[in-house]
Amino acid sequence: MGRTIASITQTWQQEEAALKRFQRALRKEDQLLLDELLVLSRLHLAEASYASNLYPLDMYLIAILLEVYKQLKSLQKEIIPEGADPSVKLDSGKEARFLTLLNETLAVLTSETPPAAELTEEAAEPRAYTAFEEAP
């Protein structure tokens, strides 16, 4: 009895080894963070094995995202007062940001009041030809 392909733990170790040069080049504080991220990917080795993906690294990245998202949700739960609907909060935040942006834009437009024809011409101009200084 023997195995032909590497086990999921072996592939994880190979991926970790492949990151060694990248990790070495990182600043010390980033090295520590990368190390922590890699630990997060190890928490879902069984699921990654079951997925049987040709590129197991993809699964490790998803596992990292999943764990980071879990932490995010957990923090969100701590920050947002109990009983409040987090989705409402997020949406209202988005709406507020949109209104602020709209107000700012309107304020700029009303103060400069450029001629409408010029605006049309500028919009028609291909972006590649716009001089750096004139860029919005």
Partner: protein
């Protein structure tokens, strides 16, 4: 007792050059042991190019031992259509063995069938007689069996067994380490100590015991490696006869020592001493003795049909292999001599998808209370039977079988599986400490090992009925079953703390009694079609992290206590063979203390008493009060000693033994103590007694701290702090643990 009918149990069966077979029976009526012979012609088959078969026919026509030659069409397990074969009938099994050895050399293009089937396997497939089968036979005046009928089945749950005479013969010391001064001789009728006097008087006493008591089974310690060679040597030197064999015409048969690789381990099996007419079991060579003792060994022999001496020593794999051959012979399927099947072509992606084992999750670290541990009853065998997974049968669609007629492997397994389930049910009808409960448990354990290895043998390239695709289909089925169980558990509101191949650890608020898990288990059975059982509800269980990185969970490193008070430990130092017995014991004592806590409120006291056990142990170690034999490390060398570039403690100890003139084989265990200075180890088997003052106490303190740290970590005590405290002292342990938080499984 001649020329008449005889009823008795079959004890031993072996080749006889003249008559065919010699068989020993235990009489049902008068407790006598009777020897018979039996003519036993055997057949084997050859297939291949017709020219070669014709040449073989010409060659065999002149052989005096060949009684018949016939062209036939028979079923090869791996071929769709019957194959053309030449059937060769030989008058005795002994001559068949000799003839086949020659033919194999001469006709290398031919494929051989039924050529190397053991005699016990051939006998059961023809007459149905297995070790300890109750038989009725008629014999002529020369005790030659004319007919034989088997009166019971190897699948009987409570078979009538013979009144076996068991004699124990054990030296008073481990011969590899100490000097043996006396032998202890015990049976149900006597108990005697035989000093090894220079005049050899012990041989006469032993011989008298062998002749008078006439044991059926001789149980020894170190019988293969030391005791029987010693007795035979003494017998020769002192010219005193010793009737080790019941068959006086035979000498003791020696089977060569062997080193082999199995499941990631190098295993060494020493030379074996086999007797004729009675059975010799060396407890130190019997692989599974500690697990299932004599009752399990006899069950193994009955079910697998392996001779008792062999069943005691070989791995269960050989047993399952013999059983598959019997199934094939009963189904009139040819038994290939050498497997010629190769793995089917697979694309890289197919290989990635199929070459996978069971699902092993990463547990949720920490301490959890009221956890139900459920596992599938013999999951892989059940998947094989349910999916009808066999090398000659089309593979199932995950768990749905492709055909209804069971193949060789599931057909073999089905009887074992059903008998084991029945034995387990029967066991529950006795109180746990009842002798019958223990016997039934040992027998059930023997069957468990057969079921376990059957799956492995499907993937073993040399197994006659192995096929890697079938092996992969089993793990695939296992993964599917476990995922279905997880889905059901989550639908029922359970948190799945851990999953390990065939077991799940489930937790749900308010579920703390076995009946709270019945509903989810019933639904799992409905969804998977496989039986599942509740191992028990754990009062608490601690899943531990890796020793090298505390952030990383390890699948099989945990300990806990069932509500029944039974402790469950996996992956801890106490479970490791190389941990000194004393360290393992301290660790188990600490867990036992912690297990005393029945509620959260009890935990602080339990934790304190566990620490007291630890501290007492530490003081005993420092004061030199721990016996040296309890500090022995049981190491192992996996390769020949000259193959090591850098040495481990085991290798350094093995080299000491080699220098002292002992031979160390790969796979052999090497026991040693850690010592101060150089050399830093001392092989336990060296002559002379080690100086207790020179033992490296510091090293053992480290081992103790590691073992203690594993136990205390889930209770909030940092292993590094414990190590520092152990080695240096004076560090305040952070005992103010947030126990409430820990217990709620934060």
């Amino acid at each position: 007792m001649s020329g008449q009918t005889f009823r008795g149990w079959l004890l031993d069966l072996y080749l006889n050059q003249q008559e065919g077979l010699t068989l020993w029976f235990i009489s049902e009526t008068d407790d006598c042991r009777q020897c018979f012979t039996q003519a036993f012609p055997v057949a084997f088959y050859a297939a291949g190019p017709r020219v070669e078969l014709r040449r073989l026919w010409h060659r065999l026509r002149k052989e005096s031992c060949v009684s018949a030659l016939e062209r036939q069409y028979k079923q090869d397990v791996f071929a769709a259509e019957p194959v053309e074969v030449l059937r060769v009938d030989v008058d005795t099994p002994a001559r068949q063995v000799a003839l086949f050895r020659q033919l194999e050399e001469e006709f290398q293009e031919l494929t051989w069938y039924d050529a190397d089937v053991t005699i016990s396997t051939r006998y059961i497939s023809r007459y149905g007689a297995f070790p300890l089968a109750l038989c009725e036979l008629s014999a002529d005046a020369q005790n030659r069996i004319q007919s034989i009928q088997v009166l019971n089945s190897r699948w009987d749950l409570m078979p009538a067994l013979p009144p076996l005479r068991v004699m124990e013969l054990t030296p008073d010391a481990d011969p590899a380490h100490g000097t043996v001064r006396a032998l202890s001789l015990r049976s149900d009728r006597f108990c005697q100590t035989l000093p090894l006097s220079p005049d050899g008087a012990f041989l006469s006493v032993l011989n008298a015991a062998l002749l008078d008591y006439d044991p059926d089974i001789l149980v020894t310690d170190w019988g293969d490696s030391w005791l029987l060679p010693f007795l035979l040597k003494q017998m020769e030197e002192k010219k005193i006869p010793l009737a080790l064999n019941r068959d006086a015409s035979r000498p003791v048969r020696w089977q060569k020592e062997i080193t082999y690789f199995s499941y990631g381990h190098i295993i060494y099996r020493p030379e074996e001493a086999h007797l004729f007419g009675r059975c010799h079991i060396d407890r130190k060579s019997a692989m599974m003795w500690s697990d299932y003792s004599l009752a399990g060994t006899l069950e193994m022999a009955r079910v697998t049909t392996l001779p008792i001496e062999k069943a005691a020593r070989v791995s269960p794999g050989q047993g399952i292999s013999a059983m598959q051959v019997i199934t094939a012979l009963e189904k009139d399927i040819l038994v290939p001599y050498q497997k010629r099947q190769v793995e089917e072509f697979k694309s890289g992606m197919q290989l990635i998808q199929s070459d996978r084992g069971g699902m092993i999750y990463q547990p949720k670290l920490g301490l959890h209370s009221d956890v139900g541990e459920v596992d599938f009853v013999s999951m892989y065998p059940a998947v094989i039977i349910r999916g009808n997974i066999s090398p000659e049968v089309p593979l199932p669609d995950v768990l749905t079988p492709a055909t209804e007629e069971l193949g060789v492997v599931p057909l073999t397994l089905k009887s074992i599986y059903e008998k084991r389930v029945a034995l387990k049910t029967k066991t529950r009808s006795y109180p746990p400490d009842h002798p019958m409960a223990k016997t039934l448990k040992a027998r059930s354990s023997a069957l468990k090992w057969l079921l376990v290895v059957c799956f492995g043998f499907l993937g073993y390239k040399n197994a006659r009925y192995g096929r890697i695709e079938a092996h992969e289909a089993v793990t695939k089925g296992g993964r599917e079953v476990l995922l279905r169980a997880k889905e059901v558990a989550e639908e029922e509101g359970f948190e799945v703390l851990q999953m390990y191949v065939d077991a799940l650890w489930l937790k749900k608020k308010g579920c703390s009694k076995p009946e709270h898990f019945e509903e989810v288990m019933r639904k799992i059975v409905d969804r998977t079609g496989l039986a599942i059982a509740l191992d028990g509800v754990l009062r608490w269980v601690a899943f531990l992290p890796s020793k090298t990185d505390a952030r990383v969970p390890i699948a099989n490193r945990y300990f806990g206590i069932f509500q029944s008070g039974e402790i469950k430990v996996r992956g801890l130092e106490a479970r490791r063979r190389d941990t000194p017995r004393w360290i393992g014991q301290v660790q188990m004592d600490m867990i036992t203390c912690l297990g005393q806590a029945k509620t959260r409120a009890d935990l602080p006291d339990a934790l304190r008493s566990a620490l007291r056990v630890y501290q007492d142990g530490l003081e005993a170690l420092k004061a030199g009060r721990v016996p040296l034999d309890l500090l022995v490390v049981n190491g192992k060398v996996s390769y020949a000693l000259d193959a090591y570039k850098s040495t481990t403690a085991s290798v350094r100890a093995a080299r000491q033994l080699e220098s002292a003139g002992m031979q160390i084989r790969p796979g052999q265990r090497v026991r040693f103590l850690f010592m101060q200075g150089e050399p830093d180890v001392r092989a336990w088997e060296l002559t002379g007694k080690p100086d207790p003052q020179s033992v490296n106490v510091h090293k053992y303190m480290e081992l103790l701290a590691k073992a203690g740290g594993s136990v205390l970590l889930p209770f909030g005590i940092d292993p590094d702090v414990l190590m520092e405290w152990t080695l240096k002292g004076g560090v305040q342990l952070p005992l103010a643990v947030q126990i409430d938080e820990l217990l709620t499984g934060r």
